[in-house]
Symmetry: C2
Subunit: 342 residues, 2 copies
DNA sequence: ATGAAAAATGCAATCGATTGCATTTTTCAT
DNA sequence: ATGAAAAATGCAATCGATTGCATTTTTCAT
């Protein structure tokens, strides 16, 4: 029993008949304290089971050693990979990671960001919600020069470090690949175009068509939220066209999967009748039959990079107002769903 | 520019010529402050852009409003689902979630748990690392009566609330199902047996065999770390046996996938030649061909439940030393990999 | 032994918010 | 107008750790 409250440096000081200042310095290995005293203090600390109260230390030091990360959905492979990468770097650098998910809801995102601020995180890493339309909440950080790093779904209006993949190029590569496979009518299924990731992929898609002298047919471009159900609906819609597509570039692997499963059901051959390419390389994409061609986004590495940039900013003596955008390479992984053997 | 430091209640007090106590009370809607003063203070707070410093508040209140969660690997579907569930409940209840991953390394886990303690989380949710052998670090919590909830991979030696799935029953159901499909030599691929999850599944497996008068052949039980590579090695080892199994109950879906892919390669038919069942219902299990029969673990719900129990303990007036174990239902999902049509 | 320099330690304020108790101000019946 | 009761506000300590400056102690040459 006993074990009332946790012992503090004052308890140690009292026990040893010295001042709390000395205890504090000794525990922090401040050379101003003699070797002898230091050892005595550390021994007593061990004996009493002293554990520093980091909250008190944080208050005094005006630093929380905590970084926040906000994602649309934790439980999604790409995002959990990023989080894992962030944690990896943060832990090694002595930072805690506070996490929250917006569920793609702008209003929740605002509350989260505010909460992260009042909890005084030293910096924030965020990929914005699909339904975010206003970015005032982020000015709590950008406006006060608190380090902020966007990843994947960035906000152009706010200056900050960014970690992105080259979505334009990704979209271009996918489309070019489909063209090289002989496809002529390539549909594109995409997400909300206020998200730069999606609009860039779409731009890449269009550019590739133009570069290869194929017509851009707006009828073949469908915008929705890219859920499994959305994918199914989009695919059914495309099948109803008098002039069907011979390929679909899906905005993510989830909808590519919807397409594949539906086509399997209705007897449309992939890739022979319609070729499919996704985006993100979800774990299932490799193992479904036919396996899904996709763009690999290095989530874990993006998380590591974002954390490095953020911590770099936090620990930089002075903000120089200089921001960096790191573009991670994408890789087109060609699998069965788009590989037309001849 | 300007915008030096953040304004504090003292800045507000000075500006309004009142005391900081009154400001504090007004902002917290303490009825001791008159309506009039309260409104005046709130208006000033808004005007100055005052944001409370939660760290200071936490120190004074001896409460961090933060809960910690430690998992082996963030980037794994089951765990990220649990995290998502924890975040869901925690956010609604006004708690922050600090996350860290042990990478299944006992030493890192110890450092994480210690860090969570010195950061004074109000409670901890943990699924222990595969390679954890000592549990002294957890006594920082259990010994000091700080709320602690284990999930999935629990520690029997430490009294605490627990959220588990019925692994014994899960293992039993899988094995019984295979037996009903006509399998006679059922192999079992399992993880480190110091983890209760694995040893319980194995007990369930054995019990089902015994109950159905089938021999338990230790030769058919392989223990490893259940990675994709481990799965492949185990399967190859089983194929070398003079008396091959006609079914494999894999400790997770990852190794079930290894088996399926390898069998596809070498021309062994699943489920006709060898039936396969996994565990956990990974997203890929539904879509691989053949789709993988498995046990569904409700990760998100487990996270919600764990967070509810933890927060319940945190907010309970006094610890009563009473602990609860919640067993979540498992569901056997029968798919192609084990469904032998006749 | 002595005094100056160097080394070690301590005082007291600070980081912002909170709160028990005291004091001041307002209300209101007479 | 007056005084008691009620309402509103403020003082000062507190949560633990940190740190600039001052003070005390030790070292060491003479």
């Amino acid at each position: 029993m006993s074990s009332k409250a946790e012992p503090t440096i004052h308890d140690l000081a009292r026990k040893l008949n010295i001042s709390a200042s000395t205890v504090s310095r000794a525990l922090n290995d401040n050379p101003r304290i003699s070797q002898k005293t230091r050892e005595k203090i550390k021994a007593a600390a061990l004996e009493l089971g002293y554990q520093p109260n980091i909250i008190a230390s944080n208050l005094r030091n005006r630093k929380s050693n905590t970084i926040g990360i906000v994602v649309p959905l934790i439980n999604r492979h790409f995002f959990s990979s990023v989080i894992s990468g962030v944690e990896d770097v943060a832990f090694a650098a002595g930072y805690n990671v506070v996490i929250s998910q917006s569920n793609d809801d702008g209003e929740k995102e605002q509350r989260i960001v505010h909460s992260m601020f009042v909890n005084r995180v030293d910096g924030l890493i965020i990929s914005i919600a699909m339904k975010s339309t206003t970015f005032d909440h982020l000015k709590l950080f950008s406006g006060k020069k608190i380090p902020l790093v966007f990843f994947d779904r960035i906000v152009r209006e706010i200056e900050a470090d960014r970690v992105v993949v080259d979505d334009f190029n990704g979209g271009y590569k996918v489309t070019k690949h489909l063209i090289e496979q002989g496809c002529k009518r390539i549909a594109h299924l995409t997400g909300p175009l206020n998200l730069i990731t999606y609009s860039d992929r779409k731009r890449g898609y269009k550019q590739a068509l133009v570069d290869h002298h194929l017509e851009v047919d707006e009828e073949l471009i469908i915008v929705n939220n890219l859920t499994r159900a959305d994918g199914l609906m989009a695919v059914q819609q495309l099948l109803k066209l008098k002039n069907r597509p011979d390929a679909i570039f899906c905005g993510n692997d989830t909808t590519a999967l919807s397409a594949i499963l539906h086509f399997k059901e209705v007897g449309i051959k992939v890739p022979e009748d319609i070729a499919i390419v996704g985006f993100s390389n979800e774990p299932f994409s490799e193992v479904v039959t036919p396996s899904i061609s996709t763009i690999k986004q290095p989530g874990f590495e993006m998380g590591q990079k974002a954390a490095q940039m953020l911590i770099g900013q936090i620990e930089k003596k002075q903000r120089d107002g200089h921001f960096e955008t790191v573009t991670m390479p994408t890789e087109l992984i060609i699998r069965e769903s788009s590989f037309v053997k001849r």
